[in-house]
Amino acid sequence: MTTATMTSSTPITAHWRDFLALTKPRVMTLVVFIGLCGLLAAPGHIHPVLAFTAILCIALGAGAAASLNQWYEADIDAKMKRTANRPLPAGRMDRVSALHFGVGLSFFSVILMGMATNWLAAAILAVSILFYVFVYTIWLKPRTAQNIVIGGAAGAFPPVIGWAAVTGDVAALPVALFMLVFFWTPPHFWALALFAKPDYAAAGIPMLPVVSGEVATRRQIWLYTAIMAVAAMAPVLLSLTGLIYGTVALLGTTLFAFFAFQVYCRRETDPTRMAPERRLFKYSILYLFLLFGAVVADRWILA
């Protein structure tokens, strides 16, 4: 991150940009967006300052979880090309600083959320951080190929937190949005895992393509896309959303299924020739942005 280098005997004084990098700002963008959509889709009124604070807390909570993830996985990150330049494996920061930063940010985000909005939102935020760190990072990720299936729940909490910040409770729509992100996570991550397989294999992480092979992964992507499609259409079928979401979900999911089917039919094993897999991964991010944007559009335009 920084251009200046120091001799190896120098005690590490991390640059502030390295602390920022620890929070994975790019991943945070999607988390913040779906949290914001949960907040904007909720009925009732919240003061703009409190709404801003709630979103800030979701962002800080996500940053805290990402920091603790990198603290725990520094050794693994050092073995993967994709992650070797992160602050810890690159030697720009010591592990204790990352741990203190992550724990401090976790407490701060949860307490601020509780004080500014309500303690239900704060409790769900705390659960999502703990789930990501303990259940996903420490327990599941190094042990089972189903790591991201169950661990995906951690990333599905933000719309529920945003909703709870406004209403103080949890209703059917945020649960449906939770399910959508939950079932979206496997095809999203496994598309990445297909072309990042050598990295995961080198680091000894039991991602599905490493453990069960690429054919099985492609089949699982297709299977979970079908379940995700049901979850995507559920808000419309249950009359929780309106015409805008229904149209966007139908078209968006059809295109998702098309890309996923292409991936399912292929038998390519060379990561450098996996354009359809990369396309599915990139589109899956846009897909989530579109569907959550449509939920808000429904509430603000049609209502």
Partner: protein, 45 residues
Amino acid sequence: MTPEDEQIIRARQKSRSLITGLILGFLAILFFAITLAKIGASHSI
């Protein structure tokens, strides 16, 4: 530690102090705004 190393560390400490100050200033304003919002909400009930 060479003089160059010390210079790098000082520069990093300075930039970290500056950012910390800015964040604290932002939080002071945010907490004041939250207080006003909360007072406003309790008055409107």
